[in-house]
Symmetry: C2
Subunit: 203 residues, 2 copies
Amino acid sequence: MPEYTLIYFNFKGRAEIIRWIFEYGDIPYTDERIAWEDWPEKKKDTMGGKLPVLMVDDVALTQSLAIARYVAKQAGLVPEDDLQAAYCDALADTVNDVVEEWIKLITSGKTEEDKMEEFNEVLYPKFLEPLMTRLDNRLQEREWFISDKVTWGDLLITTVMGLVRETSASVLDNFPALLAHVHKVEDLPKIKDWIEKRPETNF
Amino acid sequence: MPEYTLIYFNFKGRAEIIRWIFEYGDIPYTDERIAWEDWPEKKKDTMGGKLPVLMVDDVALTQSLAIARYVAKQAGLVPEDDLQAAYCDALADTVNDVVEEWIKLITSGKTEEDKMEEFNEVLYPKFLEPLMTRLDNRLQEREWFISDKVTWGDLLITTVMGLVRETSASVLDNFPALLAHVHKVEDLPKIKDWIEKRPETNF
């Protein structure tokens, strides 16, 4: 097995899904967290100038979803069926489109109050609510989102809904099937262990 | 083999890479092109409300890159090696980040003159030039971008560079290895046939 080092900042952000997949698959990796103030210096030597980066031995792999998919393959979290694997990918890109809007808001330089107002009046109704409605509808009829087993799609939904819950605690209550799914994934033993032991971070 | 229908507008945009992969793999598909004026009505019945959508028999797959990767798998254009497959994915997401910025500009409602100015003064120096430099550097030493065979990554680079050439004919001349690669991919017999027979569209 190659030696894996996941390089990111000390928050959940775009890397948490990758950490969950490593943990679920019981795959050894180094969880390297770069201090914000050290980033401008390290950025110059970082392939593509963006984090996360996964070092696979001495080779750098970029792009959070490409990394997640690769590690998911090693962890047995990519469906064997090509079309189901593609549904995982489509789910990931759809969720990511919403996360991108969210990151734009978080990094907008607005006051916390203005950000919360924009979350409630734009991000939630325009992006999150339609997504959560689709997820909830599908989960009313299914044990796992894509196949008859857990996939990295289920983990991804749960990490993102964790961020939703941190931002606005009550929002998830409107989507009971989605909420139950989040709890089910968070209760998977390896994931539960990770949530207990992971560093406390805000985002 | 399932029956494939690719639904998109009558331009290249996000669907051209998928069409190239179908053509390269000699996989039969229906290339359904929706007239712009019919879209508001059709949008209501479209899964996710966005195009392209690939119908696989009667099931809808969304997200252009998820579709491309799935069809590439069927066409033998995804590397067997997991890490090389992940490099294709990372390349696709990196190229897509730039294309997203470009689409924002194209759909900004600015005049054509203002768009061209912003292309030359922002999009090109900030996004396209760094990407093209990375592509060109790597292609100076390699026959194909990812592995020792053509992959969907090579086709993707070429479709996007085709759009660059349409926008600003001379830009590619600054990147000789990249330009040679574009010509090599465009000269693959199945791709060459497609370029000759495809509908003429602006973008």
